[in-house]
Subunit: 284 residues, 2 copies
């Protein structure tokens, strides 16, 4: 099944999250059945990222958004595991600092755009400024409304100017699944420290968030920077879909290993010289 | 076997690399035999890094140095794989840019020092400025000589000021093993692009490098920032030793999960309220 095609938000359409079943899990019944496909995807990513890094022609930007508990951290770790860490940077965008708030909303994001040859993963992103900020009215509508265009302009610039391929994943879980995950945190000593009341009070804004998500998906999916809505109630399926879409995208970039910058026969000669020198010094 | 104790360079001693066998591989005969110990180390790192991140009291800085082919990239990937990527940053230090050269040698390094709660891995580091720079006489002796002290001062400041635990690993391979690895690159299409003549011409400076490594190890191993010389002819052993030392160090930090910032019983009440609300809205 081509998850990229299936989950891609068609640019210029009014997208409704109701059209997606967050419990969808494709042809596999569970993680065990999906394991082999997942492994293949990760192996493809490993191989292709090496070429991306070597060729230095394109950059890859992966954006992860989703409501609390949707699995952004897990997805991030999973994708990273397939990539040589020297070619990929993860940035988590938290509450902006005082200094950041004194700038335009893209100011703190821009420095983390990937250079050619590299991948960047944004765990939350500039989209927070049309999500949380909109839902909680942290700035007036006159301010957040033009941001959809600013985001589109900025992403287009990255795509054109720096060959940045942009993939944006909205991890979609149901309201019930979120509650389940909060429950798990409550029972897990390793997670209790980060529980806050706001986990629950934020749920009162669920419908507002859905509206903000839909606006983002409808207004900011572009051919050069598509949004994908990933059914994420099943973590294993989320990883499977994500890895397939990333691997397929890298494949479509027709990456090529650069030619060696040196004459390999000449280098082989140097190699044999070195071997001879070793032998002599061992004999000496 | 306590690799930390065994491979640690005692502060204030004249260290000679001749005293280390780069082919050493401890009690295990091969990677298969070592697999279970390695897995245990990585599991410990995963668990402890989560606590480091949550507690936000200490920072961890891991420095990797070694001659070309010593396995810095591989070691880096390996260590990273055990850590949640949102709490760790890898920085590879390449040839300094023109702007960087117009500053002191620590200027480009300092911004990458880890914040409390985070780990940073340096793939090459500020030590290049007393290694390559010294060997190739890129700056005169008056300039590189005081740098050992500057490095010690800076690392001590990080340790004292920011609770930064600093672990420095020198990955030590033999001259023959390096040649073997170059040979492998020559035969591997995925690596041919980055082969250069200098791989071989640099070998002419082997003894000078050894001298520079020894000076670095002798002058810059401190209790709060020890150097470890890791026998690295066997990649699996390198990973095993590294992961054990990192896990042991994290353990000695007596990390603790912070207490929840909220009353968990109160949160459980909120949870049950939410469950009830779900039920009502499903019934409605």
């Amino acid at each position: 099944m081509d998850f990229g095609k299936r989950f891609r938000v068609r640019p210029g359409t009014e997208f409704e999250l109701d059209s997606v079943d967050p419990g969808f899990h494709g042809p596999h019944a569970n993680d065990v059945e999906a394991a082999e496909s997942l492994k293949q995807n990760l192996d493809r990513i490993t191989k292709l990222q090496r070429m991306l890094y070597a060729e230095k022609k394109h950059a890859l930007l992966i954006v992860l958004q989703g409501i609390d508990g949707a699995g952004k951290d897990g997805a991030c770790w999973h994708v990273m595991s397939a990539m040589d860490p020297q070619g990929v940077h993860v940035t988590g965008f938290k509450q902006p600092t005082a200094e950041e708030r004194e700038h335009d909303f893209l100011w703190r994001v821009h420095p983390h755009a990937p250079r050619r040859g590299e991948a960047a993963i944004f765990n939350r992103s500039h989209y927070e400024d049309v999500l949380t900020v909109r839902v909680h009215k942290l700035v007036p509508k006159e301010i957040w409304k033009p941001r959809y265009d600013f985001i589109n302009d900025w992403e287009r610039m990255l795509a054109v100017e720096n060959n940045t391929v942009i993939l944006k994943f909205f991890l979609y879980i149901s309201k019930e699944e979120q509650l389940e995950r909060f429950k798990t945190r409550l029972d897990d000593p390793a997670h209790q420290w980060k529980i806050s009341e706001s986990d629950y009070t934020e749920r009162n804004y669920w419908d507002d968030y859905i509206k903000a998500f839909e606006a983002m998906l409808s207004r900011c999916s572009a051919d050069h920077a598509p949004w994908f809505v990933i059914p994420s109630n099943h973590k294993w399926f989320r990883n499977l879909a994500l890895s397939q879409i990333i691997a397929d995208t890298l494949e479509e970039m027709h990456l090529q290993m650069p030619k060696p910058s040196v004459d390999l026969d000449e280098i082989r000669r140097l190699y044999h010289q070195s071997v001879e020198a070793e032998k002599r010094s061992a004999g000496a």
